[in-house]
């Protein structure tokens, strides 16, 4: 019996003693090509600076109240963008929808070309979310929390590597302490370390300056700059408009769940009622 692989004929006796023939070079190349397809697609987005986040008509409601209504925008790869708006304007909901923590009721979005609804796992592999809740296990130590993430992601979980990550957020000296003994600011720092541990291509930060002291503000500034230098796309919800204007190149403004501005930060309008005083800026 003859089995044909591509242009070559391979003779195989399909009797009881027949052995499974290894795939031909052509088949092997096809398999390798298929395995690399997703990686190549991501790389293409990065290299060509194409759209990293694209939302089309995103809407989400809680009960009868719409928290997000018809939000559409695009962010190029490597952008450092801020989302601003009053309390309850839908900033956190937008970030949670993009991170696939909650589903949109209407509309959809793509992250690096992967659809939120159709390709949830792929979106999760490429995004990291710092939310209002820290995603930390309180009885575990700082080191154990980071090790847990490293284990699930198959990353570097050597103590030295994890300590280096904690050093990055100024918590190396508290590595062995349980999270439940941490202050709110220290939890925020550890949550930030957890997000960095994921090494995601799109990072979503909800109030990253929350609970932090002045050195913590500078720490987040440094992290944002480093992420931008590495070509990571960052979308950050914040009330610190002056700081956001300095750091971010693009801005989104939400009002009662609707997107009222999307564009370059330099063109962003002053928020109504701020009287130029802006918001608390920290150090």
């Amino acid at each position: 019996m003859y089995v044909r692989y591509g242009k070559r004929d391979h003779r195989a006796e399909l009797d009881g003693n027949a052995r499974i023939r290894p795939p031909s070079p052509l088949v092997r190349r096809c398999q390798q090509g298929a395995m690399k397809a997703a990686t190549l697609r991501d790389r293409a987005y990065s290299i060509r600076r194409m759209i990293a986040v694209a939302a089309a008509g995103l809407s989400r409601r809680y009960g009868r109240r719409w928290a997000l209504t018809d939000v559409s925008f695009e962010l190029p790869g490597g952008a450092l963008a801020m989302v601003s708006g009053r309390n309850g304007s839908g900033k956190s909901t937008l970030l949670r929808v993009l991170a696939t923590a909650i589903r949109p009721d209407l509309g959809t979005a793509t992250i690096l070309g992967h659809d939120l609804r159709a390709d949830r796992e792929a979106v999760r592999e490429r995004t990291a979310l710092l939310g209002h809740r820290t995603h930390l296990y309180e009885p575990l130590t700082a080191l154990e929390n980071l090790a847990l993430v490293a284990r699930f992601l198959g990353g570097d979980r050597r103590r030295a590597a994890l300590l280096e990550r904690l050093e990055e957020v100024g918590l190396a000296d508290r590595a062995g302490d349980a999270v439940q003994t941490f202050s709110a600011g220290m939890r925020q720092r550890l949550a930030l370390a957890r997000v960095l541990q994921q090494e995601a291509r799109v990072v979503l930060l909800d109030e990253p300056y929350g609970h932090l002291d002045p050195p913590g503000f500078l720490l987040v500034d440094g992290v944002l700059r480093r992420l931008r230098a590495r070509g990571i796309t960052v979308l950050m919800a914040t009330h610190l408009l002056q700081r956001g204007r300095t750091l971010c190149d693009r801005s989104l403004v939400l009002d009662a769940g609707r997107l009222v501005f999307a564009g370059a930060t330099a063109e962003m309008p002053e928020p109504a009622g701020s009287d130029g005083a802006g918001f608390a800026e920290g150090a």
Binding site: H135, Y137, L140, L148
Partner: protein, 221 residues
């Protein structure tokens, strides 16, 4: 498999850190056995006849505390959501949690046996068989219990909802476990232990399979 082992390690570590709570749940089970013994009175024959039923009722009541507690840590900082977003497999997280819950309940169940022997004068020489029945019974409790605990952990009335949902579902486990334990304490001249143990095993297999399939839908938005 790696994800399952990671999840299991995490749940055992959380249980170890909260071991004071396990002691409290055991004390609750022991107190339940003590109260039931007061309800029966000093009749040693009646006590011995009801021992198996009261052991499993005590374990069932203690299981609702233990199962609910196992999701407290997952919900307080949305840690479970954090793992799902990594993304970690929901199925691996379920099996890790269910195995850890089963182990914890089995330990509490085994620790309640000496209490039962003292209070109800209900000993058995077939200790290994009794441990086997306890493991099968707690497997039957923890598989649906973990699923329902995840479901109710996000609701305000979780302390009430969990037993309301769980108790009707685990009636077959309760019946089979009580019968098998009774046979071990009072004697098994007709060789009925094996069918009851098989029923426990079958219930556990079905619910462990279902739990793994449904957990993702329960915990995702």
């Amino acid at each position: 498999m790696t994800a399952f082992l990671t999840a299991l390690r995490k749940d055992f570590l959380l249980q170890w850190r909260g071991r004071g709570q396990i002691v409290a749940i055991f004390a609750f089970g022991a107190a339940t056995l003590l109260l039931f013994s007061f309800a029966i009175g000093p009749d040693s024959v009646a006590l011995r006849q009801h021992a198996a039923g009261f052991l499993w009722l005590g374990l069932l009541l203690a299981s609702t505390l233990s199962l609910a507690e196992s999701f407290e840590r997952e919900m307080e900082e949305q840690a479970l959501e954090g793992l799902l977003l990594l993304p970690a497999s929901a199925r691996a997280l379920y099996y890790g949690k269910a195995v850890a819950n089963c182990a914890q309940l089995a330990v509490i169940g085994a620790a309640l046996v000496p209490v039962m022997v003292v209070l109800y004068d209900a000993g058995t020489i077939r200790l290994l068989s009794l441990l086997g029945v306890i493991v099968l019974g707690t497997a039957g409790l923890s598989a649906p219990g973990t699923l329902y605990a995840a479901m109710t952990a996000q609701t305000r009335a979780r302390q009430t909802l969990l037993p309301l949902l769980l108790f009707p579902l685990v009636v077959p486990v309760l019946l089979a476990a009580v019968k098998a334990t009774s046979l071990l304490i009072l004697g098994d001249p007709m060789g009925q232990l094996r069918p009851w143990a098989s029923l426990l095993g079958a219930f556990a297999v079905v619910h462990w399979a279902l739990g793994g399939l449904l957990f993702g839908r329960v915990v995702e938005d």
